[in-house]
Amino acid sequence: MIEITIDNKTVEANEGETVLQAALRNGIEIPHFCYHPCLSIAGNCRVCLVKVDGRPKLMPACNQTVAPNMVVETEAPEVQSARAAVMQFIMLNHPGDCGICDKAGECRVQEYQFKYGMAEPISIEPKHHKKKFNYLSERIVLDNERCILCSRCVRFTREVSKSAQLGIVERGSHSYVARLDAQPFDDPYSDNVLGICPTGALLSREFMYKSRVWYLEPVRSVCTRCARGCSVNVWRRKKHWYVRSLGEEKNITAYRISPLENPEINGRWICNTGFDLHKFMARPRAMAPMMAGNTVTVDEASAEANRLLAGATNPAIILSAHASNEELQAFKEKLSPRVQVYTREDYCPAEGEVVEDDLLIRADKNPNSYSVHAMFGQKAFSAAAGHDVVIVWGDQVDYTSLGNAKIIHLTSYAPEQETRADVLLPISTTFERSGTFCNFEGKTNRFEQVFDKPKLVQHASDLFGRL
């Protein structure tokens, strides 16, 4: 630990760290575009210039290593005017089309222009134009006019995802970000660049024009698509902005998924599968209880399930690796002594999907296998054991593999198969309840409820009390 002074305040800095890092850690804001804590230092945007030890030449705070007793000024008149000049240059050919830009409201160029920019632009030249809708992939569109060439996205693909698919080509004011080869930007982590781009240059095609970000709010959740269990934010409409007449489905729409920083588990990134979590969750739901394909009331369905269980001589359950720790606990207390317990992987890697890599993605495509195995061991169902009633928990199960047993199915999604379960009880998804999962390393991660559950859908943990 060494002491440095920033704006007359003495702060503690770690040896070897930069002025910018020390300042941010101590809650002092120094504007920065190109600096990102997970990427190498580029030092190209120049908005972080500060005065060091009174020297006339300003230094970029992101590249200035701290030294004992260093004196840093972030608000000196020269610093302010250099910043204003940099903002003037940034805005020079920036289209400023915030009105039709999805980034507006969470855009750093917008934010800094208000905070640090000059009152009036001094340029009277026509703006230089660049390509506006640039196809990068089916997921991402690039607006070269809005790009401020901070190179964050380029460094991300070189240093984090290692696909090196993006680069800056040409030079001078003609420079622009581009795919470096003909194929689309199909990096399995590509969508992370949407979040690190400080401006509206890289945009999600899926989210495009769906909502202004200030109508939305993030809710902490966990990605259920693999055993890494990354922390994510699910973006829902703010209560205050609920649509009250037409288009009420907007109130229960998850608009987008973004990574939520969690140094223990996923750092600041998630994979594209995680970015699609809301689409995974939006598959056709099982909305009402059914018996042999006919809609019934919740009471009728539970009564029938109870009847089946009471009359069973050899009942069994197949647990879901998508169940939360709390649900597993409820099951253990209320039902497990009466049934034979089996486990399974609800989801297996799909065709074409990245099975496993050394960044985040795990081969086990379920979020809570760890707890299932820790509490109940690992035992695959076998039809040969002659069970007469089987409770299936979770989706993606093939009824024909269950032999002649009567089937009680607890599922969130409508099963797409010929045969029908004897009793089907719809249960809530991770978006509709809160709880915890343990990821493949046994690290517990919490998710909060994003939406209310539909009326006829029940929480699995409540069901166990009634069965």
Binding site: G43, N44, R46, A85, F89, I148, I168, R171, S173, S175
Partner: protein
């Protein structure tokens, strides 16, 4: 008194560039003397004693630059900066074409002093004959055991690797030169770390200009003190000055530091074309601030004097401008160059250089408006000192210089929509 010459000490003939010719005029004797009788530190001290300053533009003392390198480091690199891109500068090309061996000898001596096993030459991509001459010379030198394994039978080995540039002025900036050799886009790097600490492939690296390195053999042959005696006290030795523009005999001249600009222009170059009046001089390559005739009246060609006059000795490319030249259009040519050559990495230079070019071009098309000049000054203020490398400054200094010295021409152009000097300059 016959002047001492480090470069112009032989007659250029059809084969004066060959190894045999170079040997005949005493070539590679300094190398022999160094490898067989001196310690690396002695060489460094000799260079320090000579007072030699970098000829690439910044004028940093060469011996001191060498001393910054930690000689205990297992790998050290030497890079010769032969990108020669500054408009008005054409001295390195002459060295390659006529006496490549002198550079090679200088590089091997420097490599010995710096404990370098592999040294590099980054040569401007547009150079054709210079490149061919260099490769011929390297081949001769290798065959003669002057480069490569066990040079001159001693334990010292050093290879020279030649890298051709891709035609970017910015790759003459030392850190982007290294990035370019490493195979990346030639983006300059933020300093610190300085190349002397972390340079090529993250190893300590010394970067010197061609002329700087080609001077080394002479210094070792004749002694640092002898060299220091030439020129002025703080700026020793001779230097190659390339004179271009409106003079009767443009060309390359070797002059001791402290020589008079007036003598150079009026005697050596035979005065201004067509007997016209002198209007202005750009003293050291296009990025150095322009000087008026009154300012060069007594001005001498050494770093301190030129700096005191508000400009820089730079690379020694003297551009002479005759009366009747339109300074607005001249500045437009310069600003277009810098806008074109900005690497585009950092915001102020990328946007600012193009913006200045837009404004100056607009003025030169008769579309200037009131406030343009203040706008330009505001832009240069926003660029200077705020960029990654010195190209931002190089793009701004001419603008400031021209606006300061020839503001009335710009004002006239804006007010009347046309140049004070219509038509082509009649010579």
């Amino acid at each position: 008194m016959t002047e001492t010459r480090v470069f112009f000490n032989f007659d250029v003939t059809a084969d004066s560039h060959t190894l045999a010719a170079y040997r005949q005029r005493g070539g590679y004797q300094a190398l022999e003397k160094v490898l067989k009788g001196m310690q690396p530190i002695d060489v460094e001290n000799e260079v320090k004693a000579s007072g030699l300053r970098g000829r690439g533009g910044a004028g940093f003392p060469t011996g001191m630059k060498w001393s910054f390198v930690n000689k205990q480091s297992p790998v050290i690199y030497l890079c010769c900066n032969a990108d020669e891109g500054e408009p008005g500068t054409f001295k390195d090309r002459w060295i390659f074409e006529n006496t490549s061996h002198q550079l090679i000898e200088g590089m091997i001596i420097a490599s010995y002093a710096l404990k370098v096993r592999h040294s590099f030459i980054y040569i401007r991509g547009e150079f054709d004959l210079p490149y061919r001459r260099l490769m011929e010379a390297l081949k001769e030198a290798k065959e003669a055991g002057l480069v490569g394994e066990k040079i001159l039978g001693t334990e010292f080995s050093c290879d020279i690797i030649v890298h051709q540039g891709g035609g970017a002025y910015v790759c003459g900036e030392e850190s982007s030169l290294l990035t370019s050799i490493e195979g990346f886009k030639g983006y300059p790097k933020n300093k610190p770390p300085f190349p002397a600490v972390k340079g090529l492939y993250q190893k300590p690296t010394v970067i010197n200009n061609v002329e700087t390195l080609a001077t080394i053999p002479w210094i070792l042959a004749n002694g640092g003190a002898t060299y220091a005696a030439i020129g002025t006290e703080k700026c020793s030795g001779t230097k190659l000055f390339g004179v271009s523009g409106h003079v009767n005999r443009p060309g390359l001249f070797e002059k001791p530091m402290g020589y008079s600009y007036k003598k150079l222009i009026y005697e050596d170059c035979g005065g201004i074309l067509g007997g016209k009046e002198l209007k202005a001089v750009i003293p050291g390559g296009s990025s150095t601030p322009v000087l008026l005739p009154s300012e060069i009246e007594t001005l001498t060609m050494d770093a301190e004097a030129v700096q005191a006059a508000g400009s820089m000795l730079g690379s020694g490319g003297v551009i002479v401008i005759a009366e009747g030249t339109c300074m607005v259009r001249l500045l437009q040519v310069l600003s277009r160059f810098y806008a074109h050559e900005s690497c585009g990495q950092c915001t102020p230079c990328r946007e600012g250089s193009a913006w200045m070019n837009d404004i100056i071009t607009r003025i030169s098309r008769g579309k200037g408006v009131k406030g343009d000049l203040e706008r330009l000054e505001c832009i240069t203020k926003g660029i200077m000192g705020n960029t990654v490398c010195a190209l931002g400054d190089a793009a701004s200094m001419p603008v400031n210089g021209f606006l300061k010295k020839f503001r009335h021409e710009f004002e006239y152009f804006i007010e009347h929509g046309r140049s004070m000097y219509d038509g082509r300059l009649e010579i």
